[in-house]
């Protein structure tokens, strides 16, 4: 009992978002073949859940951006927001690799305690703003800046590299093995960069589709090396959700103690 309580407390300390759900974009197809003038529809689901790819929480698809193989940003052709999931459609007209991502907006998040009351009080403001509005007897004010990338790659015909390049802000994932070339039983390498530079110590968890139907999560846990790289060989073809995260001290301590940067990448491992 004591142990369980301790685990809960430490989980809360890791990140105010540690208890939050995985968010993800799940496209209908990752690799498609098409004749030159043919348009290919891709439909994608967007949701948040604790079980991999179960539609659970409403997450909007209206802020999804589509990066075309030539690098230009675009928007979905249409989108729908529902109670447990959202859907967006994209027409692929160019050959090459597309990136779908939810808009990245860093957000402050603060917590504090009040004397004589149980639990933490949450605030969607930075530390300074929270301090100004919280009661006088509040204590243990802590704040973080949270940045989450929710992304996936889709390829029409021959894969291209333009959309794989990092932008140079916060934590980013650079697929060294192209997403269209991730195959069961073959080694694949991913690299993590922070503000554009390789970053060591990123915690990476990779989970296969269908965790609802397994007794154990069977999560693959990895940590990025000095070059920011992780190597993996996936034992089975299928759809996977990757969650990467790293915490760093915030540059401005008056606003947040730390910056928590996360990535949720959906990808497929192809058949051998």
């Amino acid at each position: 009992m004591k142990l369980r309580l301790l685990a809960l407390v430490s989980a809360l300390c890791i990140s105010p978002l540690a208890s939050s759900h995985d968010r993800w974009i799940l496209p209908s197809h990752y690799n498609v073949s098409a004749e030159s003038l043919e348009a290919v529809w891709i439909t994608s689901d967007v949701s948040a859940s604790n079980q991999v790819f179960m539609f659970d929480k409403p997450v909007t698809a209206s802020d999804v951006r589509v990066y075309l193989p030539d690098g230009k940003p675009s928007s979905p052709s249409s989108s729908y927001t529902g109670g447990r999931k959202s859907v967006f459609d994209v027409q692929l007209l160019q050959d090459g690799t597309y990136k779908f991502e939810k808009e990245v907006t860093p957000r402050y998040f603060s917590v504090y305690k009040i004397k004589g009351k149980e639990g933490m009080v949450r605030s969607r403001l930075d530390k300074k703003a929270t301090a100004a509005v919280m009661p006088k007897d509040a204590y243990e004010l802590k704040g973080s800046l949270n940045v989450a990338r929710v992304e996936t790659y889709v390829t029409r015909n021959k894969p291209t590299d333009k959309v794989l390049a990092p932008k140079g802000e916060y934590l980013e994932l650079v697929p060294i093995t192209h997403p269209a070339d991730i195959v069961e039983n073959e080694p694949a390498t991913l690299q993590f960069v922070y503000d554009g530079k390789p970053v060591e110590g990123v915690s990476v968890a990779i989970m296969k589709d269908g965790s609802l139907y397994r007794n154990k999560p069977e999560e693959i846990s990895l940590t990025s090396d000095k070059e920011g790289k992780v190597a993996m060989t996936l034992p089975a073809a299928g759809r996977y959700l990757l969650h990467a995260s790293i915490e760093r001290p915030s540059p401005d301590k008056s606003l947040a103690d730390k910056t928590v940067s996360e990535i949720f990448l959906t990808f497929e491992a192809g058949l051998e």
Binding site: N31, S33, E35, S36, N157, K158, V183, G270
Partner: protein, 170 residues
């Protein structure tokens, strides 16, 4: 007696053709009769990869002729060869074939028509059927080791496959 003469004549013919034949590989491929479920003619790709897994030659590609939508489902061939160049795909593709026995010859040249350098290669045969299964079979092919015959056991989507390399040793 007549029978004997005929047999030895055929034998002589066989020997002489083996001596003077240009090097080639022959794949004897059987597509089995499948009566269970909905039957569609399979997509078939036969190709060769080098020791690094780079494709050097697509020997055969049998696909449905309407559109390229299904090419991706010949998964390994698509990843290794197909997606690189669609005009190349149009140049080599031919129609799907019904269950039966097929002989596929290859003159050991690459996609550009140049003879392969003697080294180790792998022949792949991928058979994919809509509403059906997929089988990927492979056979190592060492061009430095002379003639050989190999028999690959039947799978759900392929019958027994005989692969013969001939004309290498003289």
């Amino acid at each position: 007696m007549r029978q004997l003469i005929r047999t030895s004549a055929i034998g002589a013919l066989f020997v002489s053709s083996a001596v003077f034949a240009a090097p080639k590989m022959t794949v004897d491929l059987t597509l089995p009769e499948i009566t269970e479920g909905q039957y569609h003619r399979p997509y078939v790709a036969v190709w060769v990869e080098d020791a690094k897994g780079q494709t050097v030659k697509t020997i055969s590609l049998w696909v449905w002729d309407e559109g390229h939508k299904w090419l991706k489902d010949i998964r390994r061939w698509w990843r290794k060869a197909g997606r690189e160049d669609m005009s190349f795909v149009d140049g080599i593709a031919s129609a799907t074939k019904p269950a039966g026995h097929y002989k596929i010859d290859w003159d050991l040249t690459d996609d550009a028509g140049k003879p392969l350098t003697p080294a180790s290669y792998t022949v792949f045969i991928e058979v994919v059927r809509e509403h059906g299964g997929r089988d990927l079979v492979r056979q190592n092919l060492d061009l430095t080791a002379g003639d050989f015959t190999a028999q690959l056991p039947a799978t759900t989507e392929t019958g027994v496959i005989d692969i013969r390399l001939s004309g290498m040793t003289r």
